[in-house]
Amino acid sequence: MFRGQYDNDVTVWSPQGRLFQVEYAMEAVGLGTACVGLKSQELAVVVGLYKPENQTGLSQPKIIPIDRHVGICIAGITADARVLGKYLRTECLTYRHSYNAPYPISRLVWNLGNKMQISTQRYDRRPHGVGLLLAAYDKNGSHIYQVMPSANVFNCKAMAIGNRSQGAHTYLMKHADTFPYCTNDELICHGIQAISYAASIDEPLKLSIGIVGKDQPFKILSNAESLSYQRTCKPPDDARNHDMSWYPEALKEFEFTENDDAGPSDQGNAPTSQPSHSDVTPVTSGNQINDNKSS
């Protein structure tokens, strides 16, 4: 009720003890398209949903590889996500240079949270308007971490963020007990099925899938691999919006060959972000890394 007086500055408390600017920053995450993260004993998967609005332009990446053992899926202001991705990459690279070992994930997200907290407590900064789902595999096993603009970092069994993610969240909670024992393929299928709840029924499912696990460096699946998973997965049990024939029909226009280089642009991320234009059109969704190369 007194919002207007207390929401101009991130350094101003409301009488109820709330920081409205931080809460408004959390809303920015809900403007981005959905992201889903889940893990089994040996694999962590993040799935990002593209919004295929128009066929021109480039897709802004939903998944950013960080290191051989870490990758993030973003929802919110892509520019802010890029900055955080750059920070994470620098940290991981510096650690590898010093210690010749992968950065332990719990410490990495701890430091990230501390860094993001600074911008919630300074009058001259604003919180990062992006939520991250971080998928990682280190010697403590697989991890999914959720990082929010409030600088909260949560260790999750499975999580969904972004626009219309409640349905995906419900699906994940329903099946969460089975995830630790899933095979890799089953886990990816669960991710696809979860995120299908966030997609509109009349739009084809354009996904970006990132996986990392034991003996599996972080990899973003190619379009062909994603599509083959989407085709072979069963649709969710309560097929309220999706029936079996929906998948093959709608995906026909997305049967990519190797030469296809158009991708949908993701303008649903935030009002303030524009698709980035560059001279280079990515051959696939632009986020390919090979198993041999480190990011």
Partner: protein, 266 residues
């Protein structure tokens, strides 16, 4: 009384007129020159490659279950055997041993930095413990950096231990930032006397057993005492296996000088 002897400044860390002000806060500190270039002194700062108080040999042997690191308990002051009861093998954490040779003040200095790292690990309290290979890599970077600034830490260290699955690691890092790992490493005189001895006895197709490694340590320390003039017949041994990481000793070399009666005419 207007006694302002202990007046506090009105504010701290604010903008200084004429200087660049760092708006970003703690995370973007401007890079600074290394201390040796900014320290004031009547004759400036002198870089020295002379070692003052020195530890002599350190010998490390890897066996199937872990590692052994042995060093005598002498820190010399030139040719004077000045400090005769100094333990030169250190336990760093539950998985790492450090054997220090070279300038002992530099060893103590780098050990303090390493101990601070271990305290940070303990404070994080997340089950992540530094491994010997990681410490060795970090030391290499630090020592190489110092050497490149022409201000080396004059040390030759053995980094030894086991990783989280119990696989032994044995490495040697020197003052120039050169690092390598092998089944036997040594510093000082042991590099000349003990390395060939141990290498000769290594079975081709397997690692040493604990008994073989221990008897090699005993023999090598005996040879070193006889031949290295900056050594003592007293030494400590660090052992690191999957179950145990500790310093044992001090032990005494079995010295036998009865042959001296037969020496004539020198």
């Amino acid at each position: 009384m207007m006694n302002n002897t202990f007046a506090q400044p009105m504010w701290l860390n604010g903008p200084s007129p004429g200087q660049f002000y760092n708006f970003m806060g703690g995370n973007n500190a401007p890079t600074q020159l290394p201390r040796e270039l900014t320290t004031a002194g009547p004759y400036g700062t002198k870089h020295s490659t002379a070692a003052i108080t020195t530890g002599s040999s350190v010998l490390g042997i890897r066996f199937d279950g872990g590692v052994l690191v042995a060093a005598d308990t002498l820190v010399s002051y030139g040719s004077l055997a000045r400090y005769q009861n100094i333990n030169r093998v250190f336990q760093i954490n539950g998985k790492i041993l450090l054997g220090g040779g070279g300038d002992f003040a530099d060893i103590q200095s780098i050990k303090r930095s390493i101990d601070q790292k271990m305290i940070e690990d303990q404070c994080c309290n997340d089950g992540v413990v530094m491994k010997p290979a990681e410490l060795s890599s970090w030391l290499t970077r630090v020592l190489y950096n110092r050497r490149s600034r022409m201000n080396p830490l004059y040390i030759d260290v053995v980094v030894a231990g086991v990783d989280e699955v119990g696989k032994p690691f044995l490495g040697n890092v020197d003052l120039r930032g050169r690092a390598y790992d092998d089944f036997v490493v040594a510093t000082g005189f042991a590099r000349h006397l003990s390395l060939p001895l141990v290498r000769e006895r290594k079975p081709k197709d397997r690692e040493f057993t604990f008994e073989e490694a221990a008897s090699l340590i005993r023999e090598a320390m005996k040879v070193l005492y006889y031949r290295d003039t900056r050594s003592l017949p007293q030494y400590t041994v660090g052992i690191c296996t999957a179950n145990d990481c500790s310093i044992k000793g001090p032990f005494k070399v079995e010295e036998n000088w009865t042959f001296a009666e037969g020496v004539t005419g020198y």
